[in-house]
Amino acid sequence: MNETRMIPANGAPQELAIRVRDVVVGFGSKLVLKGLDLDVRRGEVLGFVGGSGTGKSVLTRAILGLVPKRGGSIEVFGQNLDHLTPAEARRMGQRWGVLFQHGALFSGLTVGQNIQVPMREYLDISQELMDELAFLKLDLVGLPRDAAFKYPSELSGGMIKRAALARALALDPEIVFLDEPTSGLDPIGAADFDELIATLQRTLGLTVYMVTHDLDSLYSICDRIAALADGKIIATGTVEDMLASDHPWVRSYFHGSRSRQVMASRAAGARG
């Protein structure tokens, strides 16, 4: 394999980063996911949309192993997550990074220490290199270096998201899960964050799995979009595929007034 893993394989058929088949998740008597199938290809940015309460977060959490599933299989990098040995499960923890919706930074640690937590747990490198790498990640996500000495409670919402992204990237994962990365950010901050994710994805060759409600993010950085409704994936494809879809929910989502405004402004931006 004389090839850096940064380069997404461009030939079809693309290698799958995540393969979800027939997954069933329920709470009590209510089924949230009813036999859901989803593919995430290596090196792509997949936007995952769905109405509130349809189970977007549940699927993400099921893939991460935080919610038990009742049936089906989930493979990440070709490994079935149900059949991992403890050592393989630890290994998996190094290969994915997660940005939780509210950052989930450890409140008792500074930002720098937060970024070093996975390094400290998994690697036997010197404190000097850990410090350097932590600062490097801060630079990558566009945070000032003095943020390393601050506690999460001293940061603004946008800075928390960036710091949490820096922690998710601490071990140079191959795939990052982003749970509503731009929610709670102002439009300028959200656009910056989209830009940042796109840059990182290009530079590091990341696979990005992004749960989002942000139409701007969907239009600007997602290679593919998957839409969830009624416990199943009802449509996948590019923005154009979504616009062409007949499903009523997808139609109302992508042809709603907000979506049209975003498209109009993007079209105007492209012309200007």
Partner: protein, 379 residues
């Protein structure tokens, strides 16, 4: 493939112009091996005039690997070696550029001298204690004002809420409080009997139990338990409401949080604590009776007769009078600390701890003040 295939390099050419050919996986998962390879890279390049780091055979590269390589390059450059990096392709070049070596020397916030810090900490604590005291007085004023306003319009007293809190403080707290007082009654009786036996004054153990329990122990233990059980609950409840802006929501609706939230809880405590103290008295005396019977051969009839002569109504009242004041102190501290919670969950935890510690401390201080007062008036 993962653990094997770590980073390594080979040197081509000698003397002034050298090429270091890097191979294997220069990724962070190799940890110490990666760090060591970077240091070895810097050593291997020493003494050369021009040096090329050839990345074309590298199997995998990530930011950490790129950082280590570029750090070695910059160290060599600083030592006077004309070091350069040969990339294989654009993505490697992009990665090397992102992880370019830079110095992270940052002025850390300078720490002052320890003596200065100690003095400033002491000053801060004194200032905070004074501020707590003033804040407590002003809060007491607000509570009293709110109470009188509510008494003028009894509809504002929120009886449902008061009854609900009496249930949770008194009724639900009764089993544990009765049990603790029962046990302490037993223990005091046992020690009293053992110590007084030496003087042949076993019967006086009953006097000891009766007076100690009624005047001090029952009310003190009950107040401490309530501070820990209900004071913390009040602080946590009000604090989480503060965190979620519920208190602000009340304010903008024109409602007074003290009247709606604090007053019913404080009144419920003031009603509950004397009731609980009365039951605590009974269970502690009952514990004493049982132990006196089994250890001191004092039959229940003798115990009761002795108790009757040892205590008077005022012995009982000394304990009961203190209870509402302790309840007021606990309730006020709990409410102040609850309203003082800031946005974060750590702050909530801190305030709950502070509430319990301060409430227990103040309960004991109040008990001491009452002891002096009752001694002065010979009650």
């Amino acid at each position: 493939m993962r653990e094997a295939g770590g980073p390594y390099f080979s040197s081509e050419g000698h003397g002034a112009a050298r090429v270091l050919v890097l191979a294997g996986e220069w990724t962070i998962e190799h940890g110490a091996a990666l760090e060591e390879a970077g240091a070895a890279l810097a050593r291997a390049g020493q003494g050369a005039q021009t040096l090329a780091l050839d990345l074309s055979s590298v199997a995998a590269l990530d930011t950490a690997g790129a950082w280590v390589i570029d750090k070695a390059r910059s160290q060599l450059a600083a030592a006077g070696v004309d070091a350069s990096v040969r990339h294989r392709d654009a993505s490697q070049a992009l990665l090397m550029k992102e992880a370019e070596f830079r110095s992270f020397e940052i002025a850390l916030p300078a720490s002052g001298s320890p003596v200065k810090e100690l003095l400033s900490d002491v000053g801060e604590s004194v200032f905070n204690a004074w501020r707590d005291f003033v804040g407590g007085i002003s809060f007491l004023g607000q509570v009293v004002y709110t109470l009188f306003r509510a008494l003028l319009q009894p509809a504002r007293l929120r009886f449902t809420s008061i009854v609900y809190h009496i249930e949770s403080f008194a009724f639900r707290g009764l089993p544990i409080i009765a049990l603790i007082n029962f046990l302490v009654g037993c223990i005091v009786a046992q020690q009293g009997i053992f110590q007084l036996q030496q003087f042949g004054a076993t019967a006086f153990a009953v006097d000891l139990i009766g007076i100690l329990v009624l005047r001090e122990l029952a009310v003190l233990l009950t107040a401490i338990m309530i501070a820990g059980r209900s004071g913390s609950a009040i602080t946590a409840e009000l604090g989480s409401m503060k965190m979620r802006e519920e208190i602000d929501a009340l304010r903008v609706m024109g409602l007074d949080p003290i009247e709606v939230l604090a007053l019913p809880r404080i009144l419920a405590l003031i009603i509950s604590l004397p009731l609980l103290t009365f039951l605590a008295d009974i269970s502690a005396l009952f514990g004493g009776l049982l132990v006196a019977w089994s250890y001191g051969d004092i039959s229940p009839e003798v115990f009761m007769a002795r108790l009757k002569s040892a205590i008077a109504f005022n012995t009982f009242m000394v304990g009961i009078i203190k209870a509402p004041f302790m309840a007021l102190v606990i309730g006020m501290i709990a409410a102040i600390e609850g309203f003082g919670v800031q946005g974060s969950a750590e702050s909530l935890g801190r305030q709950v701890t502070a509430s319990v510690v301060k409430a227990i401390f103040m309960v004991i201080v109040v008990d001491g003040l009452f002891a002096m007062f009752f001694a002065a008036i010979n009650y």
